[in-house]
Each structure stands twice: as C-alpha cells, then as structure tokens.
C-alpha cells in the first residue's frame, strides 16, 4: 500500500463532464464486440440482416407512397404534411410512455446507481448522464424507424440538403421533450407513491395508454377512407385528424419544420418552438431531479409490500386443479412471480391493445363492396388471419414461454436439489405457457373469422389448426428454452434475444409457413369444389386428408421433439447457476 494512505482529500478532485459516467456502457459494448460468445456473430448477422431488410422495406414504402402522392399536386402535399404530423404524433405517444418506463429503471432501479450514488458526483452531472441514457434507450427505436421514412420521403421528392439537416434538427428535440416529461412524471410517481409501488402505478398507466390507443383509432375511424366514392367523407376524415390541440404539440412542430424544408424553405418558428421547449423541459427536469431524486431513490430502496400482489385467488384456484403437490407449487410460484413482475406483464397490456386494434381492423373491413370478390377475399383473409395468429403466437412464445426456464435464474439450484423429476418441472412450465397462449390465439382466430364472416368450414379448420399450432409452438419454446437457458440474464427480453431464442423464432416461422401451406391447399380445394357444386374425386379427397394429417403430424412432432429435447438437456445439465 502506498505510504500516503491517508493523503488529505481536497474537494472532490478533477471533475469530469457527465459523459464520463456513460463510459462503462461504451466499454462494455466494446468488450462485447471484441470478446464474442458462441453464436454472437450468427445472431448479430441474422438480426442485422432482418433489421436492414425491415429498414429497407420501410424506406421503400415511404418512397413509394410519397411518389404516388405527387400525382395529386396540392392534395398530395397536404397529405404528406398531415402524414408527417401524424407520424410524429404516434411516436410522441410511444415515447411518452416508454420514457416513463425507461426512466424508472435508469434513474431509480438500476444496480449501478448504488455505485454512483456513494461517489462524490454532482447531482446535475448524474442527471445529465442518466438522462442521456434514458434518451438513448427510449428513443433509439423511434430514430431507427424515422430515418428510413424520412429518407424515403426525401429521395422521392428530391429534397434539398436542408431537409436532411432539418430532419436531424427536428428529431433530436422532438425525442428530448417526451423523454424529459416522462422522466419528470416518474420522479413525481416515485416520490409520491411509497417504495416500489410506483411500478404498479406504471402498470395502470400502461393500461390507460393501451386503452387510449384503441379509443383513438376507434375515434378517427380510418375505415372511412376505404369508401372513396364519397369525397366529402374523406375531407371530413382529415378534418377529424386536425384537432384544435394538434398545433400545440411537438409532433406538429416537427412535422411543419420538416414539411417546410421539404419544399426547400425553412420554418424557424416551429424549429425554435421545438428547441426552446426541449431545452426548457430538460432544464426544469434537471432542477427538479437535483431537488427530489435522492428522496425518490431512497424510497425505491425500501422493500415492497405484497399487499396488492398477494393473489390469494391463485392459491384458491390452483388447489382445485387436479395436480400433484409438486406441480401445484411450481405453478403457484410461476404465476405469482410473473404477476408480481410488472416488467413482465405490463408488456401483455400493450400486446392486448395491439390485438384489439388487429381485431378491430377485421371488424371494419368492408369486403362486400368489391363486386364478386367478397367471398374469395374473406376466405383469403381467413388464412391471413391464421398466419398472423401463428406469428403473433411465435412472438408471444419467444417473449413469455421461451424464458420460463431461464427465469429460475440463480434460484435454479432449488429445483435441481429438490426431489423433482426434470420432466415434471418442464411440463409445469409447458402448461403455464400453454393456457394463456392458447386463449390468445384462439380468441384472435375465432373472433377475427367471425368479424370477417368466413365460410363455416374454414372457421372450424382454423379453430382446430390453431390448437395444434399452439401445442407445437409452446412445446418448442419450452423445450428450446430449457436447452438454451440463460440463467444469468437480467430480464426476459435478453433471454428472448439469445442464441436459442433466435433459433426458436426461425423454426417457429418455418413451422407456421409450412402448416399454413398444408392446411391452406386442401381448404381452398374444398371451397372451390363447393362453388362448382360438383362431387369431389376420391384422389382429391385422399390428398386433402393427407395434407390435414401431415399438418397434424408436423405439429405433434414439433411439440414432442421440442419437449423431449428440453427434458434431455435439463437431465444432462452439468452445471447449475449459483
């Protein structure tokens, strides 16, 4: 040890600017790149390619729409202007919500805060560092989506350079405003509500957000656009979009700034409104965080009472299920852990909102107005619905079912050392995942087909197919989740994005495509036969049944192989996390 062990400390030494506090994230990213784990490169390439493809499609879509609108002269310009405003409004609501959730983690719950708060860091520096982190985490997706859209619009209109400069100048403050406001709301929540109950309040906000999204869509009735035979209705639709409060929102300012630059001009008023509001909200947030952050952080350290999350109903219901004591306790544990973890089930709320929007779209589809095509389109949509339900199911399974084994985390030793068969353990996970996924996918399929008014035969085929598909995908997700567990992962999203998660998604998508093909062909043959009102040949009937049978066998095999692989992997596991 140095002889100057107790050298006098003067002040706090050299004060480094706030980006210094972001260094661990940068170093960690660099280390992740330079010290890759097995499958990291494959995953990066796969995700990278998918990401680039999605970005390309979005950019091309924006380019195509903008090019088409050019044929409509002033109306086209008007629609682009309105479209930009609405695009930004959608992102504004998304950012407002995601920044609340993100800032709860970055400002109050992150593990590294315990390290940073004992260090002599000026509170304003800490605020700026955490704000930058929140900005990055909450806003990256919006920026990634906006970039191809704006690039597509710019290219289609041969926009001048000023458009791209304006895009950067508008998007940065546009993201800053909701993130600063979201952080302020979180600060208020954490200080008002005792301990970690702020999380429960966020849950409620998630529900409100999801509901308002659905109501918003219902209110503007976009389906009216489909009835293009009535021009006044189109005008009425657009007037609905322009509510009196719209010009007061940053989304409107961003849209106007960009539209002006797209025309080769410059809109200093709205650009200034964006920047002054952004800087003002950040400054206000910095001041209030300086004052109230420590009090809020201190409260968030306090143990959370389970008063609102005791869920006695679960105990009551599970004791009535025909299960042995081991499976019963595993089920109770899994359900309670899931329901008490807001980060887990708050995502279900958003999923629910999307499902409602999805179903609503089917309800308002007016396919009868296309002469002679209504019946064909309806039945085509029924398969589209089945495919979509399959993909939704795969996404839900990778996010909620695949991480079930990994969610045991460091506590997995309890299971390993208990007199429990790994088969029982995995089956418990399977049933926990199956019931909600089956309910969701059946609901999507049955309600969607009901709204569409498809042929009764197709309704039955779809309802049965989805049961098989659910068993297969949940079995595959459970099994691969056990084969490729990530016990050390911080959250379920990390597990879903792991090597095994990606492998599951690839297999699941292939499975859905093959199943739809196997079910789709015989169904279309049957419907065509019905239209012709002619008897079906025996060979056709045999082929049809063979296809249905093959689809069923594929599902059973996927389910069985997935689960067997998982049980084997657990039984052969030679190390347990601690």
């Amino acid at each position: 040890m140095g002889a100057e062990g107790v050298r006098e400390v003067h002040g706090v030494g050299e004060v480094r600017p706030f980006p210094y506090l972001l260094l661990p994230s940068l170093w960690a990213s660099r280390n992740r790149i330079t010290r890759r784990e097995r499958g990291d490169l494959t995953r990066a390439m796969l995700f990278g390619s998918i990401g680039l493809a999605v970005i390309g499609v979005i950019g091309w879509g924006a380019y195509w729409v903008t090019s088409q609108l050019e044929f409509y002269a002033e109306l086209g310009d008007y629609l682009i202007r309105l479209g930009l405003s609405w695009l930004f409004l959608t992102f504004l609501s998304f950012l407002a919500f995601s920044s609340i959730v993100t800032s709860l983690s970055t400002f109050f719950l992150s593990d590294d805060l315990r390290l940073l708060l004992v260090a002599p860091i000026d509170r304003r520096r800490l605020f700026h560092a955490r704000f930058a982190r929140t900005l990055g985490q909450a806003g990256w997706m919006v920026v990634v989506f906006l970039t191809p859209v704006l690039a597509g619009i710019g290219i289609a209109r041969s926009a001048p350079l000023v458009f791209y400069v304006a895009a950067v100048m508008a998007v940065v403050p546009f993201v800053m405003i909701p993130v600063a406001l979201g952080s302020l709301i979180t600060l208020g929540l954490v200080n008002v509500f005792p301990a970690r109950r702020a999380r429960e309040v966020l849950m409620l906000m998630g529900l409100v957000f999801a509901t308002s999204l659905v109501l918003l869509l219902r209110f503007i009735q976009p389906e009216r656009l489909l009835r293009v035979e009535s021009m006044p209705e189109v005008t009425a639709f657009f007037s609905t979009l322009q509510s009196p409060i719209t010009p007061l929102l940053p989304s409107f300012w961003a849209g106007e700034t960009l539209f002006a630059s797209l025309q080769g001009g410059w809109d200093p008023l709205h650009a200034l409104a964006l920047w002054t509001t952004a800087l003002a909200t950040v400054a206000i947030a910095a001041g209030l965080f300086e004052q109230w952050h420590f009090a809020g952080f201190s409260k968030s350290q306090e143990a959370r009472k389970v008063r609102f999350a005791r869920w006695p109903l679960i105990d009551w219901a599970v004791t009535r299920l025909p299960l042995g004591p081991v499976r019963r306790q595993l089920l109770v544990k899994d359900l309670k852990v899931f329901l008490r973890d807001v980060s887990q089930w708050s995502q279900l709320l958003l999923l629910l909102a999307l499902v409602l929007v999805y179903l609503y779209n089917f309800r308002v589809l007016d396919l009868e107005r296309i002469p002679g095509m209504g019946r064909v389109l309806k039945n085509l949509y029924a398969f589209l619905n089945l495919g979509m339900a399959g993909f939704v199911m795969a996404t839900v399974a990778v996010r909620f079912v695949f991480p079930l084994v990994s969610s045991e985390g460091a506590a997995f030793w309890i299971i390993r050392t208990a007199p429990i068969k790994m088969r029982d353990f995995l089956w418990s996970k399977f049933w926990t995942g199956l019931v909600p996924v089956l309910l969701l996918s059946e609901c999507l399929t049955i309600v969607g087909n009901e709204f569409l008014g498809v042929d009764p035969f197709l309704k039955r085929v779809a309802a049965v197919t989805i049961v098989f598909m659910t068993f297969a995908l949940v079995g595959l997700a459970t099994g691969l989740g056990a084969r490729y567990p990530r016990f050390a992962a911080d959250n379920a999203t990390q597990v879903a994005g792991s090597y095994g998660g990606v492998a599951f998604m690839i297999l699941a998508v292939l499975f859905v495509i093959v199943t739809i093909a196997l079910v789709g062909w015989p169904s279309s043959v049957y419907l065509a036969q019905q239209l012709r009102v002619a008897p079906m040949s025996t060979s056709r009937a045999v082929m049809m049944n063979a296809c249905f049978g093959a689809a069923a066998i594929l599902s059973i095999a996927t389910f069985w192989l997935g689960m067997r692989s998982g049980v084997q992997a657990l039984e052969e596991m030679d190390r347990t996390p601690s």
């Binding site: 390290l115 004992v118 143990a303």
Partner: protein, 250 residues
C-alpha cells in the same frame, strides 16, 4: 472521522433505526454488531448516502452528508455486502472508472490501479471480464475500488462473506494497516471472532437501537462476565441463545 448523531430511519410506522449515535475516530476500527434485521445495513447505507435519513446528522471528515454530500463522499470508501460490479468491464477498466468518479488525475490512475490489483492479488486478472470472477474475487475488486481514492473513512458491510481463509486474512491485514495510517473504519459484521480480533470498539444494535457500545472489554463487563467470549456476550445482550426453543421444536 465518522460522526453520526441521533440517526433515525422510519419506513411508515416501522422505525428501522432509532436515534443511533456513533463516533468513529481516525485510526479506529469500529465493529457494528447486531442480529439480522437489527438495522446495521440501514445505518451503513444512510452513512454511505444511499438512503435518506428520516432524522439525524451524519458528518464524514467534518463534512455534513446532507449539505456537502460531494465532499463527505469524497472522503469515504464504501464496501457493500452485495457489491455491484459492471460484469462486462475488466478489473482494470472497473478500477479506472471508479478512480475517475472520485476525481483521480488520469496520470496517477494507472499506478494506483496496479497498486490496488497487487494488494488484492488480482494482478493477473487485470484484463479479464468481471463476469468470470468468483464471488471472493469480486469482493476483493470492490475493496480495491473502495481504497483507490485513499479515503479517510471506510464503511464495510459484512466484509468476510464469501472470502476464503487467505482472502479473509488479507482483508484483515489491509484494514489493520489502513487503520494504522489513520483511516477510520466502521465495519458491520456477523462474524464475532473477526470483531473480537480486529475492532478497537464495538457497538451492538438491536431493533434499531444501540444497546451497548465501548471497547470489547467494556462490552464484556456490561454483560456481567468479563471473561466470556464476544459470542456469548452478544447472545446474552441480544436475547439469549434460543437453544431452549430449538429443543422444543426438535
């Protein structure tokens, strides 16, 4: 060096820490003892600046933690019971970052990192990711970070958890040498042998209140038997051994 006066922490109607007063002088190792849930960690976390006290005053090196938090924290090193370390950083990077937090000059950091890694026997792990470290190694790394900036006072919450005998010996030696150089150490521990061996003074906390404080000998005398081991004294002061209840249950 660490002066705590009438410190209170309330969680709703529960008083976790009740008017605790402590004074740890420079060069002193002060043991903070108590059964589980007595309020040791809560007290230490308030002194470290992680929890806001409901009432009371905390001075570190003469600086009030409430009004001059940066100056107070600059004089303090904190070793938590469950250390947080960035798993994807190397040991060297972690110490470098930590040094920066305490304003260490860049030129001096390298030399200090080498010293700390040598002291805590982690030199050959300098460029390894922390995620590959055992619990004991992480604990030693965190101790290295706590001593990086040459603190005047050190708070230690359960220092021996997860350390092998060699690691435990090393930590004891480091603490002793630091104390000899005038550093004040406030150490909470369950390991009464460690407290007996190392501490100049001990305070025993029970249900949020200090029930005994003084040198080990003084505390022994308070229990009525100056020849007893500290374990027996501790059990006597904090409510018996519980052996009778164990027999009844068994």
């Amino acid at each position: 060096m660490i002066a705590v006066t009438d410190l209170v922490k309330q969680y709703g109607s529960l008083t976790a820490v009740d008017r605790v007063t402590l004074d740890v002088q420079p060069g002193q190792i002060h043991g903070f003892l108590g059964p589980n849930g007595a309020g040791k960690t809560t007290t230490i976390r308030m002194i470290a600046g992680l929890l806001k006290p409901t009432a009371g005053r905390i001075l570190v090196n003469g600086h009030d933690l409430a009004t001059e938090p940066d100056r107070a924290k600059a004089s303090l090193g904190f070793i938590p019971d469950r250390p947080f370390v960035y798993e994807k950083l190397t040991a060297g990077e972690f110490l470098r970052f930590h040094g920066g937090l305490y304003g260490l000059e860049s030129a001096a950091v390298d030399e200090r990192i080498t010293e700390m890694l040598e002291l805590f026997e982690l030199t050959r792990w300098r460029d390894e990711l922390v995620e590959s470290f055992s619990h004991g190694m992480k604990q030693r790394l965190v101790m290295g970070s706590a001593f990086m900036h040459r603190p005047r006072a050190v708070l230690v919450d359960e220092p021996m958890v997860g350390l092998d005998p060699r690691g435990a010996r090393l930590i004891k030696d480091v603490f002793r040498r630091m104390a000899e150089r005038g550093v004040a150490i406030l150490m909470s521990t369950h390991t009464l042998e460690v407290a007996q061996e190392m501490c100049d003074r001990v305070s025993i906390i029970l249900k949020g209140r200090i029930i005994a404080s003084g040198t080990v000998d003084e505390v022994r005398r308070m229990s009525g038997n100056s020849d007893e081991q500290l374990t027996a004294v501790f059990l006597k002061l904090t409510g018996g051994s519980g052996l009778q209840e164990i027999d009844e249950v068994l």
